[in-house]
């Protein structure tokens, strides 16, 4: 019995080495998912983010048809990279609304002129308040909103060309 006890510290030591090694070699996941997925969209009303698009309020997002809510900013580089994919989604008949984070209307206008405007409505969230209410932690992010105004899915980061079919599937599932 005593002999076995002697090995206990070594066993514990090895267990810790194993624990740390697994932590060290595991890929680092720094993505923070919103806890609101599956829940209704929090209520908000935002002023218009662009001069040629109407403003955005949460109430108008629950109109029976699933849609995308894109979180973007004119100062965000990956947002420009995902612009062609959003355009493709729009051409596929998807309605896309947007929230511009920490932005100013002239900057948003310039951004949309340069990269195209796939948005039906754009709200301006100058203090990131709605972004926080949504549990979103960066730009770009895209939420799939179902017909009842619930958040069905959150896509973090830019939408790549090979993400488009998956987004369309999510929209279909949110019917």
């Amino acid at each position: 019995m005593r002999k076995l006890w002697i090995w206990l510290p070594l066993a514990l030591f090895l267990a810790f080495i194993g624990l740390f090694a697994s932590g060290l070699f595991q890929p680092d996941d720094r993505i923070i998912h919103s806890r609101l997925v599956g829940q209704p969209l929090p209520a908000f009303t935002l002023p218009a983010g662009a001069s040629d698009r109407p403003a955005l309020a949460s109430a108008s997002l629950a109109n029976g048809k699933p849609r995308l809510l894109n979180i973007f900013a004119s100062w965000c580089v990956p947002c420009a990279a995902e612009a062609p994919q959003l355009m493709a989604l729009k051409q596929a008949g998807v309605e896309i609304d947007a929230i511009a984070i920490r932005d100013a209307r002239p900057d948003v206008d310039g951004f949309l002129k340069r990269y195209g405007n796939p948005y039906a409505r754009i709200g301006l969230d100058a203090r990131s308040a709605v972004q926080m209410a949504l549990g979103s932690s960066g730009v770009p992010e895209t939420f799939v909103i179902d017909g009842q105004g619930r958040i069905a899915y959150q896509h973090i980061g830019d939408i790549r060309a090979d993400d488009v079919p998956m987004i369309l599937d999510r929209l279909r599932d949110a019917q």
Binding site: H33, S34, R35, W75, C76, R102, S128, G138
Partner: protein
């Protein structure tokens, strides 16, 4: 010489390239006039994790989103909201992860119990030793 100059300039440059041109939110870097409220806000900000710079609290971070969070926390404290209510509002959006304050959730019970268990183990070992020394 030019390299040195470029290096020196790089040292003083403000690292804000990937962030916005907007000025910081009104209460991001301004204290609440009421010292008691500012103390409450500060204590909360020190235990809320920055979402952009993930190993800093929002009190330490220069990220624009951290500034917006500080501003919102100060505004809500000024409106009379309790710090713990704001914390749970944030946790309901970002998960326990956003708060540095340890909770008493069941998954953490072994962690809380560990010091007691280790202390008990130490006392047991000590008792064994003392007994052995007395016997010979």
């Amino acid at each position: 010489m030019r390299v040195l100059l470029a290096f020196l300039l790089a040292l003083v440059a403000v690292p804000a390239s990937a962030q916005t041109a907007l000025p910081p939110a009104p209460w991001a870097d301004r204290q609440i006039p009421d010292a008691a409220q500012e103390r409450k806000a500060k204590a909360l900000m020190e235990t809320i994790r920055c979402l952009t710079c993930q190993s800093q609290s929002i009190a330490d971070s220069g990220a624009s989103m951290a500034g917006d969070m500080r501003s919102q926390i100060r505004e809500r404290i000024m409106a009379g909201e309790q710090p713990e209510a704001i914390r749970s509002w944030l946790i309901s959006r970002y998960g326990d992860w956003v708060s540095y304050e340890p909770t008493a959730a069941p998954i953490l019970w072994p962690l809380w119990a560990a010091p007691l268990l280790l202390l008990g183990l130490g006392l047991l070992l000590l008792r064994g030793r003392i007994k052995r020394r007395k016997t010979p």
